[in-house]
Symmetry: C2
Subunit: 328 residues, 2 copies
C-alpha cells in the first residue's frame, strides 16, 4: 500500500491492499434514493418505507457455482446479484440494496475484484437497487456471498405456503435456458451464444414478482433449483399437490435444436434446470393472470402419498433439480 | 437424503443433505418479535419500525480468521455474529437479525454446521436478534459470511465522519485481550483461559452503542482492526487528528503478567490489537460521558501532515493493526 505499481492491470489484491480496492469499487457509484448511508462506515442505512425489510442471502463458490474460465468476473457478479434479487422479487417485493461478502486469494488481480463489483452494480442498478456495503477478505478460492434487501411497499409477502387446491399454477420467465447453456459449456462448446449467455447471466423477470402479488398470487417462488424441485417446496409448504400439463409448455426452438444435437430431451431442461430464476406462482382460479404469465397446471388436494408434483399425472423420473453436497 | 444413518454424530453434510441440515439448524429456535417471517421462504421479513434498516456484512474464512483446532465451531459462530452485531451497535443501533451464508466441505460433520448455528443463535439472541435466513453450500474450506440488520429506533446514525476538534475521545469494552489470547495460542499454550477465551469469543458492549448515541456521540466505530487503526478511520473520515494519552489506559493485570512472560509490551496489544470489538467514540467536550466509558484522549485540528492518531504526541511505531492480504 506504499506505492503505486506502474502496471495497474496486473496489480494483485495483496499489492493494492484492502482499503484501496474498496475505494476503487465504491468510487463514482450512484446510489439510489433508498440508500440513506452507503459504503464507508461500520454499516449502511437503507430506507424501509413501510416499516419492514425483506432480506435473503446466497453464496456462490468458485468451482461449485461458477468457473472463471466459463464466465467473466463481471458475469459472475451479475449472476450472484440476480440469484438474490430474484428471491426478493419472489416475495412480491422490490429490491433496494445489496451487501457483499467477498473472499478471494491475495494473488487475485485487483481488476478481477473490480469487475465482480461492476457486475453486482450492473444487475442491482438495473432494478433500482444499490450496493451499500460489504467486506473483502482473503481466502483460498473466490467465495461471493450476497445479501439482498427489499421493500414490500405495503404488500403482504407472498409465501411458499399459500397455495390452495383449485389455484392455477403459472410461470413467467425463462425455463431450461441456463441448464442448456451449462450442457453446451460442459461439452466444450461456446455456442449457441444465447444459451451460454443465459447460463452466465440469468434474466429474471424481477418486476413480475410485485405484479403477481398485486394480482393476488397465493404463493410464489423463484426457480433456482429447477421447476419441479421448487414447486416441490411450494407443495410441501402448502400441504398440496401440483399437477403440471406438459402441453402447456412451449419448447423454444433453440432448446429443441441443441437438445437434438446433444441427445437430451429439452423438456428435462425446462422441468429440472435451475438458475434461470423464472418466477412460478399460484393464482386464484377466478382471477386473471398478469400479462406475460403462462398457465402450466393446477393445485390439488394431496393424495395418500402426501404433497407431490406431477407432470401429466406422473411423478417425474430422475433428478428434480440441483442438490447441494451431492456433487462436490 | 434417502435414509438415516445409525450414527448421527458422524453424519456428514453430504450424507445429511442441505435441506435436512437447514431443518435441523432452524427447528425449535425462538424468533424475536422483530422477525415477521423467519427462515424457510425465498426471503425473510424483519421489522424496521422507524422506516430505516441498518445493515453490514463480515466474512470469516477458516485458516485466515479462525482455526478449528483453536476454537470450537460454536465459538466461531459466536465470534462471526459478534463482529457484525458490534458494527450495528457502533452506528447507535440495536441489532434485529442475522442472515448467514455458510460454505463448507461436503465431508464436514453435520454436527459442526449445527454447532456453528448454535453459536450464531447464542450471540444473536443475547442481544434480542434472530437468525432469520441464510444459505448453506459446499466449498473447499469453511467460509462464514454474516449479515446483521439493526434498528436505529429513531436515532440519527453515528458516523465515522462526525468527530470535531475539541471533542473528547472515549472507549468502552476490552482492548488487547483478543490479541493477547492470540499470542498465547500462537505459542502453543491454552491458558490463561480468560485471554484465550476472549480471543475465541469477544464480548462487545453492544448496548453502549445506542447509549453513546443518546449521549450525543459525534462519531463512533467498533475496534475490529485495532484502536489506532480504527481511530485512524475516524480521523480521516472526519478530517481531524486524534491525540491519545497513554496515562489514560489501565493495563489489566492479566495482560501485564502475560506480556511480561511473552516479552511483549502489553500497551501494544491495547493500542493495536483487534477483534475485541470495543466501542470508541467522540463526545462533545461540554457533555457527560455515559457510565462505563473511559476518556482516552481528545480530537484536534489536523496538522500539516493531515489527520493522524498520536499517543503522547507521537505517531505509534509499527503496525497500527490488522491488514487484510498482508499475511495470506
Amino acid at each position: 500500500m506504499t506505492s503505486d505499481s506502474g502496471d495497474e492491470a496486473s496489480v494483485s489484491l495483496r499489492e493494492a491492499g484492502e482499503f484501496r480496492i474498496i475505494d476503487r469499487v465504491t468510487a463514482g457509484r450512484v446510489q439510489p434514493g433508498t440508500t440513506l448511508l452507503g459504503p464507508g462506515d461500520d454499516a449502511a442505512v437503507v430506507a424501509a418505507a413501510d416499516g419492514r425489510v425483506v432480506g435473503c442471502t446466497d453464496v456462490l463458490v468458485e468451482g461449485v457455482h461458477f468457473r472463471l474460465d466459463w464466465s467473466s468476473p463481471e458475469q459472475v457478479g451479475r449472476k450472484a446479484a440476480a440469484a438474490n434479487l430474484a428471491d426478493i422479487a419472489a416475495m412480491g417485493a422490490v429490491p433496494t440494496a445489496l451487501l457483499v461478502g467477498l473472499a478471494c486469494p491475495s494473488t487475485t488481480p485487483a481488476a478481477r475484484a473490480e469487475a465482480l463489483a461492476d457486475g453486482l452494480w450492473a444487475e442491482a442498478s438495473a432494478v433500482g437497487a444499490g450496493v451499500v456495503g460489504g467486506d473483502l477478505t482473503s481466502g483460498p478460492v473466490v467465495v461471493l456471498s450476497v445479501t439482498a434487501l427489499g421493500s414490500l411497499e405495503g404488500r403482504a409477502p407472498v409465501l411458499r405456503s399459500g397455495a390452495r387446491p383449485g389455484d392455477r399454477v403459472a410461470c413467467c420467465g425463462r425455463l431450461g435456458w441456463s441448464a442448456a447453456g451449462l450442457a453446451v459449456l460442459g461439452r466444450g462448446f461456446r455456442s449457441p451464444v444465447a444459451l451460454v449467455d443465459a447460463h452466465r447471466v440469468p434474466a429474471p423477470p424481477y418486476g413480475e414478482g410485485p405484479r403477481a402479488a398485486d394480482a393476488g398470487a397465493t404463493s410464489m417462488i423463484d426457480v433456482s433449483d429447477g421447476l419441479l424441485a421448487d414447486l416441490g417446496h411450494v407443495a410441501r409448504a402448502s400441504g398440496v399437490s401440483v399437477r403440471l400439463h406438459s402441453r402447456a409448455f412451449t419448447v423454444p426452438d433453440r432448446l429443441a435444436e441443441i437438445g437434438s444435437a446433444l441427445g437430451v430431451d429439452p423438456m428435462d431442461w425446462l422441468l429440472t434446470g435451475g438458475e434461470d430464476h423464472a418466477l412460478v406462482a399460484t393464482f386464484p382460479v377466478d382471477g386473471e393472470l398478469p400479462a406475460g404469465w403462462t398457465e402450466i397446471g393446477a393445485v390439488e388436494h394431496p393424495g395418500d402419498d402426501g404433497p407431490v408434483v406431477t407432470v401429466d399425472g406422473q411423478v417425474h423420473e430422475g433428478d428434480a433439480g440441483w442438490l447441494h453436497f451431492a456433487k462436490y
